[in-house]
């Protein structure tokens, strides 16, 4: 152990930061080495440094278009939550609603979302609505399914216990079923957070004059590979921030769950 004294001791945020920084440095080092050894031209694989410079020169354009993408991602995601969770609750509480709504839900899921994009262009044109629609549609299903699974996972004996205490159904739902479903719901929300970004970008590829997806297409057309890489980095950072924001929310809301305990202790 003494030989590894330079490694940070376990515990604390700075440990995570240390490892993150280390892996970042290794990746950048490898990247630089590959370009140097194989001698790729800049329009195929620019050096990390060139990408950084491109990021700095274009930061205003990137920031402006990031804003458009973020709006589309968040709007699609929030809309999906607003519709998916009540739908899941309805399906769990009412067998009739399940029979009526579940088959069409599965059917729409089997259509590739990208295939619907041209239809959205007809409906919504080249504005932000098309992007939001694709993002909404693509992250809707995992939220519905995981919420249903979570709400169904309650132990029937627990419902019996609650009824023996005279609890009305609404109280059983709010105090037992819903909190018990949160871990599974967060599973769906995390998957959907990544999918929302995919959805918004897809929308921007096919029908937009703003957003990071639009910038990527333009940069590709101009063979501006260093800008392409720069935007890719910004995108992945945005997606990561989004994902971790959901994860932090999860830690705050369900610190008691198995998946959170190793962090809590």
């Amino acid at each position: 152990m003494a030989k590894r004294a330079w490694l940070p001791k376990a515990g604390g945020w700075h440990v995570d930061a240390f490892w993150m920084l280390l892996s970042l440095l290794i990746i950048l080092g490898l990247w630089e080495a590959i370009v140097a050894v194989f001698g790729f031209p800049a329009h195929l694989l620019p050096r990390p440094w060139a990408v950084a410079i491109s990021l700095m020169t274009h930061w205003e354009v990137i920031a402006d278009n990031s804003y458009h993408t973020i709006i589309a991602v968040l709007a699609g995601y929030v809309l999906a939550i607003v519709f998916a969770i009540p739908l899941a609750i309805l399906i769990v509480l009412s067998p009739q609603a399940e029979r009526l709504l579940y088959p069409p839900l599965v059917a729409t899921q089997s259509i590739p979302k990208i295939a619907l994009a041209p239809l959205f262009i007809v409906w919504f044109g080249f504005g932000v609505e098309t992007k939001i629609s694709v993002a909404f549609l693509i992250c809707f299903f995992p939220i519905v399914v995981d919420t249903i699974v979570g709400l169904r996972s309650i132990d029937p004996a627990l419902i019996q216990l609650a009824r023996s205490m005279g609890a009305p159904p609404l109280r059983v739902f709010l105090k037992l079923r819903l909190p018990g479903a949160l871990p599974s719901m967060f599973g769906g929300l995390k998957v959907a957070s990544a999918l929302a970004v995919v959805g918004a970008l897809t929308g921007e590829y096919i029908a937009s004059d703003a957003g990071l997806g639009y910038i990527l297409l333009s940069a590709s057309g101009e063979m501006n590979t260093s800008l392409l890489f720069g935007v890719l980095i910004v995108l992945s950072v945005l997606a990561m921030v989004f994902f971790y924001a959901i994860e932090i929310l999860e830690k705050l809301l369900i610190p008691w769950h198995v998946s959170q305990r190793s962090h809590a202790q």
Partner: protein, 274 residues
């Protein structure tokens, strides 16, 4: 018929002096998924006296748990009626404590809040019952654990918390559905001793479902032996072992004889093969 196997009707008469629970010609039939009728329980007559400790033993699927749910009013009888304190059970009867094989503790609440679940479910003010909850938690040897989460506790400790939850509002009646079934043998014996001590002090009426013959004999005033499905009462056996009982009671010839007798009953029913 051996002399201390009491005829069911005679037992009813002896208990009628101060009957708390009266089960009168009760049957329960479920409708299965294919529309066929499954008889879970049939023609059951029982009278359970106030302060009595009664165990129900029988093979899986004999309707033991169904009987508890019927008494608690969580299921409707298909035939007959159940009366508690002379009043017909119609809908959930809530003046009781229920304990299940699974402790059913909520992972997102502390030990204290789990015991206070009674208040959450009944719409009562938790603050009024917090002192009593802390007292109960201490009485089962868990003082200092009030603010722990269930996952930090062992199986035996969790079941103790579940018992505190059942006892919080000091109900006159406890329904216990194999509460110690998931515990290891040593913890189980300790829980039995502790339950007896609690019962001895409070004189609550306990209806206790178990698979374990020796557990039933050790705890009970009377044992109701059920037949396999369709379940009905096979025999009612009085346990006259002196109280208060300790674990040494298990080593007496009297204890062994009763256990043996019940096992013979199960052999005759074809539940146990030798």
């Amino acid at each position: 018929m051996p002399d201390n196997l009491v005829d069911p009707s005679a037992a009813s008469v002896s208990a009628s002096a101060d009957t708390l629970i009266e089960i009168d010609g009760v049957g329960k039939t479920y409708t299965g998924q294919d529309g066929e009728h499954i008889v879970a329980l049939q023609d059951t007559d029982l009278k359970i006296g106030r302060g009595e400790f009664v165990s129900i033993v029988g093979p899986s699927g004999c309707g033991k748990s169904t009987l508890l749910s019927l008494v608690a009013g969580l299921l409707e009888t298909s035939k007959g009626a159940i009366r508690i304190d002379g009043v017909k059970v119609d809908g959930p009867y809530t003046d009781l404590g229920f304990a299940f094989q699974s402790d059913l503790l909520l992972d997102w609440h502390t030990v204290l809040r789990n015991v206070l679940l009674q208040c959450d479910m009944r719409g009562l003010d938790r603050r009024l019952h917090e002192a009593r909850a802390r007292e109960l938690i201490a009485s089962v040897g868990l003082d200092g654990f009030e603010d722990k989460r269930p996952f930090e506790l062992s199986g035996g400790m969790r079941q103790r918390v579940a018992l505190c939850r059942a006892l919080l509002l000091d109900p006159p009646m406890l329904l216990m559905d194999e509460p110690f079934g998931a515990l290891d043998a040593l913890t189980r014996e300790q829980m039995q001793v502790d339950l007896l001590a609690m019962w001895q002090e409070s004189q609550k009426t306990v209806l206790f479902v178990t698979h374990s013959i020796s557990e039933a004999v050790f705890l009970s005033d009377r044992i109701i032996v059920m037949t396999p499905r369709p379940g009905k009462v096979c025999e009612i056996i009085d346990i006259d072992i002196d109280r208060p009982r300790d674990l040494n009671a298990r080593d007496t010839a009297e204890f062994g004889a009763i256990v043996h007798r019940i096992r013979i009953l199960f052999q005759e029913m074809g539940v146990i093969h030798t």
